[in-house]
C-alpha cells in the first residue's frame, strides 16, 4: 500500500513538474519554431522553412540600432547597479541601523512597482526637474540609464545580500587577526567569496535591463530606441516572423550568457 501511494505521489509530482516546465519552455520553443516559417504573414501551419527572417532582422537598421542602445544601456545600468548595490548590500546585511528596513524596501521597490507606473512616475519626475532647472533628462541617454539602473539595482542587492548572508563571517575575522586591514579583508577575502553572488547579480541586472519595455517606453528619445521598443514599433505595422528571429537571437544570447556565467560561478550558490 505504502509503495503504491508513494509511487502515485511520485508520478503526480513528475507530471506536475513536466506541465510547469512545459508552460515555461513551450512558448520559447514556439517562438524559435515560428522564426523559421516561410509564410509571408505569420500563420499556422508553416508552408515551408527559411532563414530569410534572420537576414531581414540583421539588415533592419532599427533592430541593429535598438540592439546597440539596449546593450550599452544595460551594460552601464549593470555597472551602476554593482557600484551602488554591493556597498548597499554590505551595509544592509552587516549593520543594524535605524531605517534599515525602510531602505531595503526602497531598494527593492522597483521590483514590486509595475513598470508602467514606475516609468510614468520617472517621466513626470524628470519633467519636473526639467521645468525647475531647464536640464532635459527624459528622452536622453542618461535618463534611460537612470531608469535602467533602477530596474537592475534590486537584483544586485538581492543576490549580493543573499551571498553575504550565507558567508561565514569568521573567515573575515581570521584574515583580520592575521594582520589584514579592513580594505585587504574586503578585496582579498570577502569579494572573492561573494563573487558568485556578484556575477549572478550582474548577469540578472543586465538581463532585466535588456528586456525592459515598460519603463523605457516613457523615456526613450527620438531616434534612440531600445531593442524591445523597436520590436513593439515593428509589430504595430507588420505581422511576420522577423520578430521571431529577433526574439530567437535574444533567447540564444541570454542562454549563452547564463551558461558561460554558470561555468565560472555556480549560479545556484548565489541564491
Amino acid at each position: 500500500m505504502t509503495t503504491n501511494t508513494s509511487t502515485g505521489i511520485r508520478f503526480a509530482y513528475g507530471a506536475m513538474s513536466a506541465v510547469i516546465l512545459g508552460f515555461i519552455v513551450l512558448p520559447l520553443v514556439g517562438v524559435i519554431w515560428m522564426s523559421f516559417f516561410s509564410n509571408k504573414i505569420l500563420a499556422f501551419p508553416p508552408q515551408g522553412y527559411t532563414f530569410d527572417w534572420y537576414a531581414r532582422a540583421f539588415a533592419a537598421q532599427e533592430f541593429r540600432e535598438g540592439f546597440i542602445v539596449s546593450f550599452e544601456t544595460s551594460l552601464i545600468a549593470m555597472a551602476t547597479s554593482l557600484v551602488l548595490g554591493v556597498p548597499a548590500s554590505l551595509a544592509l546585511v552587516r549593520y543594524n541601523f535605524p531605517g534599515r528596513e525602510i531602505i531595503t524596501n526602497i531598494l527593492m521597490s522597483p521590483m514590486i512597482v509595475p513598470g508602467i507606473v514606475g516609468g510614468s512616475a520617472l517621466f513626470v519626475f524628470f519633467l519636473e526637474i526639467e521645468m525647475l532647472t531647464g536640464v532635459q533628462i527624459a528622452g536622453t541617454a542618461p535618463g534611460l540609464i537612470i531608469a535602467h539602473a533602477l530596474i537592475a539595482l534590486p537584483w544586485t542587492v538581492r543576490l549580493v545580500s543573499t551571498s553575504l548572508i550565507g558567508m561565514n563571517r569568521s573567515v573575515e575575522e581570521a584574515a583580520y587577526s592575521l594582520g589584514a586591514s579592513a580594505m585587504t579583508v574586503f578585496f582579498r577575502i570577502t569579494l572573492p567569496i561573494i563573487k558568485p553572488g556578484i556575477i549572478a547579480g550582474a548577469l540578472f541586472s543586465f538581463v532585466v535591463s535588456f528586456i525592459d519595455l515598460e519603463k523605457s517606453i516613457f523615456l526613450v528619445g527620438p531616434g534612440k530606441t531600445t531593442l524591445q521598443i523597436a520590436l513593439i514599433n515593428y509589430l504595430e505595422w507588420n505581422l511576420d516572423s522577423t520578430i521571431g528571429a529577433v526574439a530567437t537571437v535574444q533567447i540564444v544570447l541570454i542562454t549563452v550568457l547564463l551558461l558561460v556565467t554558470d561555468r565560472y560561478a555556480k549560479l545556484n550558490r548565489a541564491f
Binding site: 561565514n168 569568521s170 573567515v171 575575522e173 581570521a174 584574515a175 583580520y176 587577526s177 592575521l178 594582520g179 589584514a180 586591514s181 585587504t184 582579498r188 577575502i189 572573492p192 567569496i193
Partner: protein, 355 residues
C-alpha cells in the same frame, strides 16, 4: 612568550551582561582553558582578548603592552576558530602564507616558513589542495598552522575540537598540547567539555553567567569544587543536600546523619559532593571511620577499566559508586537488584554551597 593579563574586564550588550568582573593572569607558556556551559561568556572573553569584541570596561594587556584599544590586526594573536574559518578560495599553502604576506615578508621567506609550518602539522603534501578537499581534522591542522606561522604572542582557540569525531578529537588534543608545549606558547582555549579541559589545560577558568566561578589546576577544581555548580560541571554525580548539625556531623535531607572529618564546616544549607571513586560498594561496610548507607543496585554500567553502580537509597536519592573492573583487581560485579551497602571514609567529600 608574554603573559596575558585581564583586569576587571566587562562586556555589556545594552542592559544584558555578557561578562563581568573578569580578571585573569595567564603566565608565559601557560595553557588556560575557559570552561563553562553555553552562554557563560567564555567565547565572548576569548573574542575580547582577540579584539573582535569591544570591551565595555577594563583592560587587557599582553606582555606589558596594553592592547585594549588595538584592533585584531595589530594584536599579533593566532586565533583558531570553531569552524576553522579557512579561506575557501585559497589553497592550503596560500591560507598559511596569508599572515606572512600581511607582514610583508619576502617571497622566499614566506615559502620557507609555510613549508616549515605545514611540515609541523604533517600536511606538506597537501599544500596545493583547497580547504574543501580536506577532512575536518586536516582543516583543523591548517587552521593551526596558519595561526602559528605568524609567531603570535598568544594562541587563542575557540572550541577547537568540537567539530571532530571522538578518535580525531583525542588525536588533535594531544597534537595541540604538544605544539603548545614545544613552542612554549601562551594559549587560551575555550571549551564546554570538562574532560577536554582537564586533560589539556594547565589551569582552568570555570565560568558561569558571565562571571568566574572558580580558577585552578584541573585536579584542584576536581578535588575541591567551590560550589555545587562547579561540582556538577566537573562531572561529580553525587551531590547530597543537607546541613551541619554539629562538629563533624552532616544531616541529609531525609534526616540521616553522616560524619565528616573535622576540617569541613559550613553554615546553613549546603551540599556534600562525593566523587564516585571514593564510594565503596559491598555487602558490609569496613570497620573504622566510614559512613555507610544501605541501598539497592539499580543500574550497572561498564566503562572499560571501571564499573559504575547507580544505587537507590530511599525513594528518590541515588548515589553513584565506581569500582575497578573485575579483571583489573576490582571486586566481582554485583547484579542489579542486590541489597548493598555504600560506604566512604569520613575524610572523603567536599562541602560546597547550595548555589
Amino acid at each position: 612568550m608574554p603573559e596575558v593579563i585581564l583586569q576587571d574586564v566587562a562586556k555589556h550588550y545594552g542592559s544584558s551582561v555578557a561578562v563581568e568582573n573578569m580578571s585573569m593572569h595567564i603566565s608565559p607558556g601557560e595553557l588556560v582553558a575557559l570552561l563553562g556551559p553555553s552562554g557563560c561568556g567564555k567565547t565572548t572573553t576569548l573574542r575580547m582578548i582577540g579584539g573582535f569584541v569591544d570591551i565595555t570596561s577594563g583592560r587587557i594587556s599582553v606582555g606589558g603592552r596594553d592592547v585594549t584599544a588595538l584592533p585584531p590586526n595589530r594584536r599579533n594573536m593566532g586565533f583558531v576558530f570553531q569552524n576553522y574559518a579557512l579561506f575557501p578560495h585559497m589553497t592550503v599553502a596560500e591560507n598559511v602564507a596569508f599572515g606572512l604576506e600581511m607582514r610583508k615578508l619576502s617571497k622566499s621567506d614566506i615559502s620557507g616558513k609555510v613549508a616549515q609550518a605545514l611540515a609541523r602539522v604533517r600536511l606538506s603534501s597537501f599544500a596545493d589542495r583547497l580547504p574543501k578537499q580536506l577532512s575536518g581534522g586536516q582543516q583543523q591542522r591548517v587552521a593551526l598552522a596558519r595561526a602559528l606561522v605568524i609567531e603570535p604572542d598568544v594562541l587563542l582557540l575557540d572550541e577547537p575540537l568540537s567539530n571532530l569525531d571522538a578518535t580525531l578529537r583525542q588525536e588533535m588534543k594531544i597534537e595541540i598540547r604538544q605544539l603548545q608545549q614545544s613552542l612554549g606558547l601562551t594559549t587560551i582555549f575555550v571549551t564546554h567539555d570538562q574532560d577536554e579541559a582537564m586533560s589539556t589545560a594547565d589551569r582552568m577558568v570555570l565560568m558561569r553567567q558571565g562571571r568566574v566561578e572558580q580558577v585552578g589546576a584541573p585536579d584542584e577544581i576536581y578535588d575541591q569544587p567551590a560550589s555545587r555548580f562547579a561540582a556538577e560541571f566537573m562531572g561529580i554525580p553525587n551531590l547530597l543536600p543537607g546541613r551541619m548539625n554539629g562538629p563533624g556531623r552532616f544531616e541529609l535531607e531525609d534526616g540521616t546523619t553522616v560524619h565528616l572529618d573535622g576540617q569541613k564546616r559550613y553554615h546553613g544549607l549546603c551540599v556534600l559532593a562525593l566523587r564516585p571513586e571514593s564510594i565503596g560498594i559491598g555487602k558490609d561496610a569496613p570497620v573504622g571511620a566510614f559512613n555507610s548507607l544501605p541501598g539497592t543496585v539499580e543500574i550497572v554500567t561498564y566503562h572499560g577499566a571501571s564499573l559504575e553502580y547507580r544505587v537507590r537509597l530511599g525513594t528518590s536519592t541515588f548515589l553513584t559508586a565506581r569500582t575497578a573492573a573485575p579483571g583489573l583487581g576490582g571486586p566481582d560485579a554485583i547484579p542489579i537488584g542486590t541489597e548493598v551497602r555504600l560506604f566512604w571514609p569520613y575524610a572523603s567529600g567536599v562541602l560546597v554551597p547550595e548555589v
